[in-house]
């Protein structure tokens, strides 16, 4: 089994699971309880808060635990907009944000906020100047992701945050695809809010966090008890939070090592795949890209059919093609990058994990070209292309 779908979910690191287990059977107390069981749980989540804070160079009190990257993003947007409403009503997001930023943003738009999108170039890069141009005196919030999970591009966050700081605008970055995989330092990045999620760095699904810089006013979206300093009610997922903490600790410790290894493998994959299959485009930025991320559009072939064929060979990947999406819409990211709709249908994303080996890449490179060949033989678009080429000669 070769798993190249980091962006969907990473496997749990064995040490992460090990650290979680006691919080299932032994220390099952509610962290808000005063008795021994409760206080054990409380200590555990506060320790995890420290680990997560350390991963991104924040203060523990600036870490708010949530249940998913999506919840973190929702909280950032829906929490900041009303809290800053008296200062203005304009929000800026990039056009390649995750749906969990885009949807809340458009919900806010329906509630009376003004919304602007900044576009990206063909590599998926946001131009900080575009953010500057989009600013108005009414702008209260900018949200641009740290790295895009579909094309791997890493955005110039520092430059964008500088512009926001100058203009006294709150800046959120969705670092779900980045945190735990590349160095992330909230203070050098200059961000006010940052979303991260455990299942992107070998932690458990259902456990994520939002960094909220000290002093930032933010509303809650889940109201009730006083958990998370009153910013997010609900009995804590103690084991999940503990797992997130351990994953953060491991990620920090092994950051460089994991990164270097993955970059080597990624570059091999990109180089050799481009050599062995023709009519392929690399999507995203060649250099500013996530270490684990290699994404392409394979012309004349649709993504789901590649994905299924690879799955039958034991290789698991994902795709941004319309056919692979439940709503049957092609990836808005590929669209925003100006990729032709038919080409975008050939989207395929290989996202590597810690455990990935050079042999895994070799195996992929062995099984993938025949799959493309078979599917192209079936493709009316490829037939047309060949005919046209033939006619041209």
């Amino acid at each position: 089994m070769v798993y190249f779908d980091h962006i969907a979910s990473t496997p749990l690191h064995p040490l992460v699971l090990e650290s979680m287990l006691p919080y299932f059977n032994e220390h099952f107390g509610n962290p808000q309880s005063i008795h021994t069981h409760g206080q054990k749980s409380l200590q555990a989540i506060e320790k995890a808060r420290e680990e997560v804070a350390r991963l991104i160079n924040a203060q523990p009190s600036e870490i708010l635990f949530t249940s998913s990257g999506s919840e973190s993003n929702n909280l950032a947007l829906k929490g900041i907009a009303p809290a800053e409403r008296n200062r203005g009503n304009h929000i800026i997001v990039s056009s390649i944000e995750h749906q969990s930023v885009l949807r809340p943003a458009s919900k806010l738009e329906k509630q009376g906020f003004k919304l602007s999108y900044v576009s990206v170039d063909k590599y998926g890069l946001v131009d900080p100047d575009d953010v500057k141009k989009a600013l108005t005196p009414q702008t209260i919030l900018v949200s641009v992701m740290l790295a895009n999970s579909e094309v791997g591009t890493i955005e110039p966050i520092r430059e964008i945050s500088a512009i926001c700081q100058e203009n006294d605008v709150v800046f959120h970055t969705d670092a779900v695809a980045a945190a735990g995989n590349i160095p992330v330092d909230v203070s050098s990045l200059g961000v006010d809010l940052l979303s991260l999620s455990g299942n992107q760095f070998y932690g458990p699904s259902g456990s994520a966090a939002l960094y909220v810089k000290k002093g930032t006013k933010i509303d809650s979206i889940i109201d009730g008890g006083i958990q998370e300093n009153g910013k997010r009610a609900g009995t804590e997922n103690v084991a999940g939070i503990v797992g997130l903490g351990t994953a953060a600790k491991l990620a920090l410790k092994q950051m460089e090592q994991r990164k270097q290894k993955l970059i080597t493998l990624r570059d091999k994959l990109i180089k050799e795949l481009l050599e062995r299959v023709d009519h392929v485009v690399l999507t995203g930025h060649r250099k500013n890209r996530l270490p684990y991320h290699a994404s392409f559009c394979i012309k004349f072939v649709e993504g789901e059919s590649m994905l299924l064929s690879l799955d039958m060979q034991g290789v698991e990947v994902s795709s941004g093609s319309a056919c692979t999406s439940k709503t049957l819409k092609v990836s808005h990211v590929l669209q925003a990058m100006g990729i032709d709709a038919a080409v975008a249908q050939g989207s395929i994303v290989f996202s590597l994990i810690e455990e990935t080996t050079s042999e895994d890449i070799d195996y992929l490179l062995e099984v993938f070209p025949p799959i493309v060949e078979k599917l192209r033989k079936m493709s009316p678009l490829y037939t047309k292309y060949l005919e046209e080429k033939h006619n041209d000669i």
Binding site: E304, S305, M312, K326, L328, K329, V330, K377
Partner: protein, 187 residues
């Protein structure tokens, strides 16, 4: 697996893939929902489909459906072949995921188009000189004002209703509708 074994079997070993250079009829359809494409080629002898081939640019379901349609069509009279319906294709495949039901439309539509193409050519006594055809997206009307749509709009230009595509049949319906006015699918 998102598909059952029968679908996967057809996906892995699709029958009748290819092009018939001197086809008697060619039918090509594009899918307004996901932008995919299917082409059917037929050879007709004594009013029967003597040979059929297809090419498909699309998902696993689309490929399996084409394969199944081609099998079902082979040897049938043109009238019988015209009766191959989307529902029966999906049924023959043992069912498809809800949001993939529209793919089964593609297969039968492309076959029917090929048959129509054959008939028109017969009428005009024309020879097939050009196997290329324009992609004809399924043209539909707004289910609310009956205004013209190409199937891609998020808003009907005529009545301004917000639209989304039915995950079952792929046709446009009012956003948030619980029941598709075209195929009756419920969420």
């Amino acid at each position: 697996m998102i598909y059952n074994e029968k679908v996967m079997e057809h996906f892995q070993n699709p029958r009748n893939v290819g092009v018939i250079k001197d086809a008697d009829g060619v039918g090509e359809v594009g899918n307004p929902v996901c932008g995919d494409m299917m082409t059917f080629y037929i050879k007709v002898k004594n009013n029967r489909i003597a040979d059929v081939k297809f090419q498909t640019f699309g998902c696993g379901a689309a490929i399996a459906v084409s394969s199944m349609v081609s099998e079902m069509a082979k040897g049938k009279t043109l009238e019988e072949a015209m009766k191959i319906a989307n529902k029966s294709v999906a049924k023959e495949l043992g069912g498809l995921p809800k949001n993939k039901l529209h793919c089964s439309n593609l297969g039968a539509d492309a076959l029917h188009k090929a048959i129509e193409d054959f008939k028109e050519k017969q009428k005009a006594k024309r020879k097939i000189s050009d196997s290329k055809m324009d992609v004809k997206p399924v043209v539909v009307n707004c289910p609310y004002c009956d205004g013209p749509l190409n199937g891609f709009e998020e808003i009907c230009q005529k009545c301004q209703v917000e639209l989304e595509n039915c995950p079952q049949c792929g046709k446009p319906m009012k956003k948030g509708t619980q029941e598709c006015p075209h195929c009756g699918a419920t969420r």
